[in-house]
Amino acid sequence: MEFRAISAEEITSAVKKLFTDCNYFIGSDILCALSKARDNEKSPVGKSVLSQIIENDRIAAEEEIPLCQDTGMAVLFVEYGDKVCVDGDFDEAVTEGVRQAYRDGYLRKSVVSDPVFDRVNTKDNTPAIIHTKIVRGDKIRITAGGKGFGSENMSAIKMLTPSYGVEGVKQFILDTVFKAGPNPCPPIVVGVGIGGTFERAAQLAKKATFRAIDTSNPDPRYAALEDELLGEINKMGFGPAGLGGSTTALGVNIETSPTHIAGMPVAVNICCHAARHASVEI
């Protein structure tokens, strides 16, 4: 069998660039949605907030500085081709990329070693959350993002059961967004994971926040649900920065998975307007 060799250094430098890029340069999908929202926003304060966010994102890109001080916890979705051979420790190569990005790119170190007792900063923003999936092929694809916790803290998961139906799914998503209210830095991006097991639903919800918001779920039923939920969320009135207005969310992305006959897990991962993600193929 033929393997393609990829050096650990190549992975490290690709990961480093993903994290500096996504923290300096907001995606064109978000920028387009922000300017459309500014044109349509009903609240004058909301309009002004959106203008300031757009100006902020312009400054960050121009000066190559983080657009938000919370440069997040590093999350990576890796598709690792089964014909790839990495000379070295793959996880360590990724971790080193995160370390270098946060150190050399003037990103904030926001990770503590122990969640409950010590809470001592690890000073290099590691460890990262690395989701690796083995796929066919001789490439490595990585989608990564820095996930801020103002919005992460507003996320929720519920083990719905089949009789809840689509109405139950909608209700849980809308309840979660309503409870979050002004806190997760609206306008938000709502990532939803439905199906699988407890942890798969949560993982899909995170993956959904990394999908561009100008894309739709390929299944027209879920695509329609994405549109319907976005409309409902924007009727809540929280508006930009939660100060009132007609733009509470920029997008709703749904990802699904087969699940058990007894279950219908739903996870809602909320992301702020600084929805940072970037991808690379090595």
């Binding site: 907030v49 902020n56 400054i59 003037y106 926001s110 809470r119 702020c272």
Partner: protein, 183 residues
């Protein structure tokens, strides 16, 4: 209308602020967030003196990113205020005049704001690069070991914020979203 305020803030200036007002602050403010608040609160609980004088000050809930060479500070937007709700009333009772953050506060904090004639201001979450333009200088005051969470003094010029809860308890998070809510 935008109101310009020179710090330290006076009782009269606070009384003149109303929920929804746009404000530009010039002068110095303190910074502190979760870990620093926990330490200050524990000192207050034990009846011990604080390492920083909070009387008459405003505290900005922020954990900045590092400054790139040539910059006075790194990007420095507000963090969610509700996480400081447990600690804020004690600080307000000790003479802190206000807080700058983002998002809603609980009833205890609102009561403490009204009781002490204070103010809660908000800056735009996620506008850290823009906000940092109005921060001209930073000085470390205490808790250096907390890194980004250390307590600093910022010198600000025309720092932009909005009055979210005024000294009478009027609260934009209660009054504004309902105006745009559609059933």
């Amino acid at each position: 209308m935008t109101k310009r305020i020179t710090l330290p803030i006076t009782e009269k200036a606070i009384a003149d602020l109303h929920a929804g007002d746009s404000v530009l602050l010039t002068g110095t403010i303190l910074t502190g967030r979760d870990a620093a608040h926990k330490r200050l609160y524990e000192l207050i609980e034990k009846g011990e003196p604080l390492p920083v004088d909070i009387k008459g000050e405003l505290i900005y809930y922020v954990g900045p990113a590092p400054a790139k060479p040539g910059y006075a500070v790194g990007p420095a937007g507000p963090t969610s205020s509700y996480r400081m709700d447990k600690y804020a009333p004690s600080l307000l009772d000790l003479g802190l005049k206000g807080m700058i953050g983002k998002g809603a506060r609980n009833r205890d904090v609102i009561d403490a704001i009204v009781r002490n004639k204070c103010v809660y201001l908000v800056a735009i979450g996620g506008a850290a690069a823009l906000i940092a333009k109005s921060i001209k200088k930073e000085e470390l005051l205490c808790y250096e070991d907390l890194g980004t969470e250390a307590v600093r003094r910022y010198t600000v010029e025309d720092f932009p914020c909005i009055v979210a809860i005024d000294s009478e308890g009027n609260n934009v998070y209660e009054t504004e979203p309902v105006k745009y809510r559609e059933d």
